[in-house]
């Protein structure tokens, strides 16, 4: 019977919370003093950030000759980092938009921090192409604005320019989506805090939200439009366009039509792992066990496993097509990846991305947090290597053996990567301290979700007869037993 199906569901949020308790739990970290753990983490992240700033300033002053690039390998560490960070960002939009579209209600506990993660990851990603320009102060030349140099316009046929539009749109729309989701929570905090700087900020940014149903009605429509109509195709387009940077070239190993879906699956794979890493830390340090339950972790690890399988299929397809193509350069590029001087990076990628996630077939592994934590870190490492393999191994041995070269990153490049992690974690820690990490207004709405029918199951229609019955019966409408169609 359909009714028993939903009556037996587990609550999404543990601890039998009421809406009032949700407000208390979520605003607690914003109210008291920061814990020593938070200060310690901030210290580490800021140190990393400062190291990165020093490295970036040095390379801007001296020039990108400070990198390990050479004439054969024109893209390596920096573009790897760029694609890596963009990929990390994609999980946020997946959780907030695609899972919203699929009515996965568990997303409400995770979406706020995943969206924040998207923003910070896109910020980190944006740094790399800009410093790669060599003269980053002229980065605005990428925008098609009227000028007195001709006017000299940008080349709209270039995938690199598509990237500029894709990533800036992605950043702006993600920020807008995140902010729109924050407004009701900012209003809650505004009414909770009595005075002080924070209260004034919440007041300014909550836009006078008062919870009126007419506003909620429009708000939900807008949220649906942003999620379903805009963010979902956007997230698929952004990494497709990033993959065009490679796929539209003629380099063997880059020139493949499988790249857009392969990159999108990989992006979601790495992003979900990063969300899991961060969520497990947040859960343990900020006492969010009731909000990020084992069921949440379980669902996310299943997504990791699913996307890992997609990535594995892409690796196999790529290899098969290369061997089957009859193109000797294509064939060589792939054999060189697996057996050439950089084979170690290829096999690191395969072990981390294909073998490690296989443990998630086992329920016990999905529910053991230390295992999940370590596995997701492996996946992050593996996904970084995936981009490194695609970019560097395809370039280092090209058509002419006389131009073959090798590549080792310099300290400056490594420090730049460290700095981008520093920026990411610094932003994330500041976010955890000053904004609600859990989308309160959304979590409150799913507290009783397990008691209600899912979409498509027998749903008590609040129609006029029901209204008439409600007038004589004190039983709340939605919980009234009714006949199931089966």
């Amino acid at each position: 019977m359909a009714r028993t199906a939903w009556a037996m569901r587990q609550p999404l949020i543990g601890g039998q919370k009421t809406p009032g308790q949700v407000t208390l739990d979520v605003s607690r970290p914003l109210e008291g003093r920061a814990t020593p753990l938070w200060w310690g983490a901030l210290l580490v992240s800021v140190t990393m950030l400062v190291a990165g700033i020093v490295a970036v300033s040095y390379q801007i002053k001296t020039g990108i000759g400070t990198w390990g690039l050479n004439r054969t390998i024109g893209w390596s560490f920096d573009i790897t980092n760029f694609v890596f960070w963009i990929g990390i960002g994609h999980a946020g939009t997946l959780i907030s938009a695609i899972l919203f579209l699929l009515r996965q209600k568990w997303r409400t506990s995770v979406n706020r921090s995943a969206e924040a993660m998207t923003l910070f990851a896109v910020m980190c990603a944006g740094i790399f192409p800009i410093i790669h320009m060599g003269r980053p102060w002229l980065a605005f030349w990428f925008l098609p604005y009227p000028n007195f140099r001709g006017p000299l316009w940008v080349n709209f046929r270039s995938p690199l320019l598509w990237d500029v539009f894709a990533i800036s749109t992605y950043f702006i729309i993600s920020a807008v989506f995140w902010y729109v989701g924050l407004i009701p929570d900012l209003a809650t905090l505004r009414d909770r805090f009595k005075s002080g700087f924070k209260q004034r900020m919440f007041s300014l940014f909550s836009l006078g939200w008062n919870g009126a149903l007419t506003t909620w009605n429009r708000y939900e429509t807008v949220y649906l439009i942003l999620a379903a109509a805009l963010a979902t195709p956007l997230v698929l387009s952004v990494h497709s366009i990033v993959s065009f940077d490679f796929a539209t070239s003629v380099i063997p190993g880059w020139h493949t039509t499988v790249f857009p879906p392969y990159f999108v699956a990989g992006a979601i794979f790495s992003g979900m792992s990063m969300v899991l890493t961060l969520m497990i830390i947040a859960r343990q340090t900020m006492r969010l066990e009731d909000y990020l339950t084992h069921n949440h972790i379980d669902s996310m690890t299943k997504l990791v496993l699913a996307t890992s399988s997609m990535v594995a299929i892409a690796y196999a397809t790529e290899f098969f097509v290369a061997l089957y193509s009859g193109n000797e350069y294509e064939r060589f590029a792939f054999l060189n990846r697996a057996m050439g001087p950089m084979a170690w990076s290829y096999w690191t990628m395969v072990s981390c991305n294909v073998l490690v996630p296989q443990i998630f077939w086992f329920r016990r592994m999905r529910r053991t947090l230390p295992v999940v934590f370590v596995a997701t870190i492996f996946v992050n490492v593996g996904m970084w290597f995936e981009r490194f393999v695609i970019i560097t191994t395809s370039l280092h041995r090209d058509f002419l053996p006389s131009s073959w070269a090798s590549y080792t990153p310099t300290l400056i490049e490594i420090l730049t990567l460290v700095g981008s992690f520093g920026l990411f974690f610094t932003c994330f820690l500041i976010f955890c301290r000053f904004l609600p990490m859990i989308a309160m207004a959304e979590v409150k709405g799913v507290l009783n979700a397990h008691l209600r029918p899912e979409h498509g199951e027998a749903e008590p229609q609040p129609d006029l007869e029901a209204a008439a019955m409600a007038e004589t019966s004190p039983v709340p409408l939605d919980l009234k037993p009714e006949e199931s169609p089966t």
């Binding site: 407000t23 729109v180 409150k444």
Partner: protein, 191 residues
């Protein structure tokens, strides 16, 4: 000038949902409901139509993407034509990614702007809160008493019966706009 209103506070979504339906069935006009979170089906129970903001999205997406298509064409084929790899000056397929991104960007910004304008939300606005708890965990249902035919006692008893924590008469500042008068027939108009 201020309005007398009947304010009922409800502890949870089910009680306010039940009261809302019962009040409308009894012919009362609900001025507004205030909720801490979006309750599935409550807007429908209140007879609210689905918002038409989607039209703004479609219009903005069309304007943004079509105009940017022509902008790219103008830049590449008219303002300063450059021969790039022997490709045609007007390389339509290559315009598509940017057309898509710009369409999404304009549509997203216009949609959110439309929400803010339509709902009168702007930075620093002083919120008109009927009760400070409506952004936390309480639901408030407001009805105008000014109408001569308004039966305060019956409204009170319906609210109480459905689990209202408190029902009281309050004075609220007059609204600029005419109060919305939902038609009970519109309950089944959409979906």
């Amino acid at each position: 000038m201020s309005t007398r209103q009947l304010q009922s506070i409800f502890p949870d979504e089910d009680s306010v949902h039940g009261a809302l339906l019962a009040l409308r069935k009894a012919g009362f006009i609900i001025q507004e409901v205030y909720a801490p979170y979006a309750v599935h089906g409550l807007d429908r129970a209140a007879g609210l139509r689905r918002s038409r903001i989607g039209f703004v999205t479609v219009a903005a997406a069309a304007v943004g993407s079509i105009s940017f298509y022509y902008f790219q064409d103008w830049v590449s084929a008219m303002s300063w034509p450059l021969n790039i790899g022997g490709k045609p000056y007007s390389s339509a397929p290559a315009w598509i990614p940017v057309v898509f991104e710009v369409g999404v960007l304009t549509a997203g910004l216009a949609t959110v702007l439309a929400l803010f304008v339509r709902s009168g939300l702007y930075p620093g606005k002083k919120p008109l809160l009927v009760d400070p708890r409506v952004t936390d965990d309480r639901f408030a249902l407001m009805m105008d008493i000014a109408d001569a035919g308004f039966d305060v006692d019956e409204a009170r008893s319906i609210c109480r019966r459905h689990g209202a924590e408190s029902v009281k008469e309050v004075l609220t500042p007059a609204r600029r706009k005419k109060p919305r008068q939902p038609e009970i027939q519109s309950l089944e108009v959409w979906r």
